[in-house]
């Protein structure tokens, strides 16, 4: 027995904590959730098999555009806007932070701070900021000559989703989430520092101006990271819960416009006590993410440039 154990490559021993975690925290929940998605389950009594009923219901809701369908639309809207916006903002902020100016530490801290403010407080802050009449965001828009937007008070738009009248509650959520780009901004900043300055010098000698250098040198160099950010950002935005819950007080108000998948799942599981239905939705979410990630990987071949790496 000891001899057999000794023959296992060291690598397996080193990753054993993760293997244990994989079994307990991923494989078991994975299988359990899948099983429950075919059951009627309220957590208080044992699950009872009911076949594909939950999936049929989800299909019907997708068709009608309510329930899961509504939540999916809200989530897709949110992800499609917030992820690219976050990436753009994070990259730009990182570039600005990479300049040699006085007080770099202060700027860095200021830009990172929003990522660590407790969500409880920042949600309330943003509700004030986005108030249609007194909030500063609309005042700023006014200075820029733009009309004031309704943000969380956009009930007309929320009630008639086929028209996109103004910036409404979902757009407000997007704004709130992009404020917290601090984490990825730092990662970009570090990566910027790794780009050999000789490349920039050469480009400058070739006569490339600041913006050209950015477009043709910085961006391609950052592209693997941007891709990583894209995938992770997609995963995170699709799972976004806390801020939406706090802002809508757990209701998806106004008129279900902020009912993202996470919130809908939460309500189905803990208010309607339909854990099986919630599990089916969670599974579908996973499948959607898998497909989306696979598609992203395929698309990335067109624009992500990998440098010669040092191994792995």
């Amino acid at each position: 027995m000891m001899r057999a154990l000794k023959r296992i490559p060291a690598g397996w021993w080193f990753i054993s904590p993760w293997l244990l975690g994989l079994a307990l925290l991923f494989i078991y929940p994975f299988v359990a959730s899948l099983y429950w998605s075919f059951c009627r389950y309220d957590m208080l009594s044992a699950p009872r098999w009911i076949g594909t009923e939950h999936y049929q219901r989800i299909a019907a809701e997708l068709w009608r555009g309510d329930g899961f369908g509504q939540a999916l639309w809200n989530t897709a809207y949110f992800a499609a806007l917030s992820v690219p916006l976050s990436i753009v903002l994070a990259v730009l902020l990182a570039v600005m932070l990479s300049w040699r100016v006085r007080g770099q530490v202060i700027f860095r801290t200021l830009f990172y701070l929003p990522a660590i403010i407790p969500l409880v407080a920042s949600s309330i802050l943003w509700m004030w900021l986005l108030n249609p009449t007194a909030g500063i965001v609309n005042h700023l828009l006014g200075w820029l000559g733009l009309a004031p937007q309704l943000w969380f008070n956009g009930i007309e738009e929320a009630a008639s989703p086929s028209t996109l009248l103004s910036f409404g509650s979902k757009d407000a959520l997007v704004l709130m989430s992009t404020w917290g780009v601090g984490n990825f901004m730092l990662i970009y900043l570090a990566a910027l520092g790794d780009i050999p300055h000789q490349l920039y010098d050469a480009a400058e000698l070739d006569g490339a101006g600041r913006f050209r250098r950015f477009r043709h040198l910085t961006l391609p160099m950052l592209s693997p990271l941007i891709f990583f950010n894209l995938v992770l950002g997609l995963i995170q935005s699709v799972q976004a819960f806390t801020q939406v819950y706090l802002v809508s007080e757990g209701t998806g108000e106004p008129i279900g416009s902020t009912l993202v998948l996470s919130l809908h799942l939460f309500l189905a599981a803990f208010q309607d006590l339909e854990m099986g239905y919630a599990s089916a939705m969670a599974w579908l979410l996973f499948v959607i993410l898998l497909i989306a990630t696979a598609l992203l990987f395929r698309w990335s071949r067109g624009w992500v440039h990998y440098r010669a790496s040092l191994g792995g």
Partner: protein
């Protein structure tokens, strides 16, 4: 190899400390209970001023007897549903929880709650049923058994700005509204416009979330217990919703959404009546406190305080109001699997006033500004005096003893609530013209399907394994 041993030592010490840390965390003792007493863990979600009131009540209870000791836990966050549910599932539920009514049926149905007849004697239960106001009894009952003891009722009525109405309509405000048509007339008379002709204040705008109230007043019902059918699309409900939708164009095209969007904050946070945006607002008895505070401030600033009043909800002309309004409330619930149900029962009686505690209950209700759940508490001299000092509140208490219809106590009540509010909201605020009947029928279908699913799944287990 010395270095190796020192390293090993460091590692060992570090790991030991860590294990110690984790053990300490895992075995942290709970707050101590006085000797000879049994603990009652009580979860609630009151905060700020209300929380202090709750703590005083708990102290008085603990001092009044020596068998039980209530420990009140102000559970953070708005929503105790999930926590409570997980606690019951996790096998470590509190002994008593204060929650609002929509969950009673769902939890009772799934056996998460102890019916009160398992904690109290049959004689007590019979007495309790007679002692409670009808609304309070209905809120806590599921399938003819009492699962929760109400500790406060929420009643809604029409607050109005007497000063503004007299100014704008040229007549003193009526004592009570004779009909809904009178409400409409006053709503139109009290419009205030700015020089550009844009309204800055309106008389009244209906809130889609209050279809529950208007539907009942129009004579509708939202659930038929005899046929077990969801009746959201009851003709009276449709009529009520259509009346609400009539306000979409009452002051100009599409004004409902436009004007509501100008309200200073998300619906429900501040009281627009005080901000002067409306002359009449439908809301619950908790606003009495806000009005009192606002009037106090006016007095302090040397201004003459605005006069406010309260009207009962009116029915359409010529129709006898089937009910006076819509009621919901807070309930004490006892989770199944708790340790000290007897202690919970004692505390519930103390707070609500049942079993001879009317004086205490009167005191509690006055302190917290809550509506008592029994006529006997309402009639207690302490509370009568409180009502004399608070005439607006007295009106709500009077209504509470009348014909109030609760939200249907059925599983899926929360779903019903969400769906109906969304449907009404869509009708009132959408850019398009939608059909009230269609929206209500959609809601009916959704909730009915939910109930049918539940029934089907329950039946699937009878005679089967698991």
């Amino acid at each position: 190899m010395q270095a190796n041993n020192i390293d090993r030592l460091k590692l060992a010490t570090g790991l030991l400390l860590l294990v110690l840390l984790i053990v300490l965390t895992a075995t942290r003792p709970r707050a101590s209970v006085p000797a000879g007493r049994e603990e009652v863990v009580f979860w609630h979600f009151w905060g700020g001023h209300d929380r202090r009131v709750v703590e005083e009540i708990v102290n008085r209870f603990n001092q009044s007897q020596d068998r039980h000791f209530v420990r009140a836990v102000a559970m953070p966050g708005n929503n105790l549903d999930m926590k409570m549910f997980l606690a019951v599932t996790g096998g470590d539920p509190p002994d008593l929880i204060n929650q609002d009514d929509p969950i009673v049926a769902d939890w009772a149905h799934r056996g998460a709650l102890l019916p009160l007849d398992e904690i109290a004697s049959p004689a007590e239960i019979e007495q309790l049923n007679g002692w409670l106001l009808p609304a309070a009894r209905q809120l806590g009952s599921y399938q003819q058994r009492l699962y929760g003891l109400a500790n406060g009722l929420d009643i809604r009525a029409l607050y109005y700005n007497r000063t503004l109405i007299e100014q704008r309509s040229g007549q003193p405000a009526p004592r009570q509204l004779a009909s809904i048509e009178q409400l409409d007339r006053l709503a139109e008379a009290c419009v205030v416009e700015d020089p550009d002709g844009q309204p800055t204040a309106l008389g009244f705008l209906p809130d889609p979330r209050r279809l529950w109230a208007w539907g009942v007043v129009f004579g509708g019902a939202f659930y038929d217990a005899d046929t077990k059918r969801v009746t959201a699309a009851d003709p009276a409900n449709v009529e009520a919703l259509q009346w609400m939708a009539s306000y979409r164009h009452r002051f100009g095209p599409d004004n409902l959404a436009a004007f509501r969007q100008g309200d200073q904050s998300l619906p429900g946070k501040t009281f627009p009546l005080l901000a002067g945006r409306y002359a009449i607002v439908l809301d619950g008895q908790w606003r009495v406190r806000d009005i009192r505070a606002a009037r106090q401030q006016q007095l302090e600033q040397g201004q003459p305080p605005t006069e406010y009043g309260v009207w009962q909800l009116p029915a359409p002309r010529g129709r006898q109001a089937a009910a006076e309004g819509w009621v919901n409330g807070n309930l004490f619930l006892v989770p199944r699997g708790c340790r000290n149900a007897a202690g919970s029962w004692e505390f519930m009686k103390f707070w609500s006033g049942f079993g001879g505690h009317e004086a205490e209950a009167a005191r509690i209700a006055s302190q917290g500004g809550w509506i008592p759940v029994s006529q006997q508490v309402m009639d207690h001299p302490l509370f009568v005096q409180y009502l004399e000092e608070n005439p607006l509140f007295a009106e709500f208490v009077r209504l509470a003893a009348g014909r109030q219809v609760p939200t249907p106590v059925i599983p899926g009540a929360r779903l019903y609530y969400r769906q109906l509010n969304q449907a009404a909201g869509r009708l009132l605020y959408s850019k398009q013209e939608l059909s009230a009947r269609e929206l209500l029928e959609q809601t009916t279908r959704a909730v009915q399907q939910h109930l049918q699913r539940l029934e089907r799944h329950d039946a699937g287990s009878a005679g089967g394994g698991s």
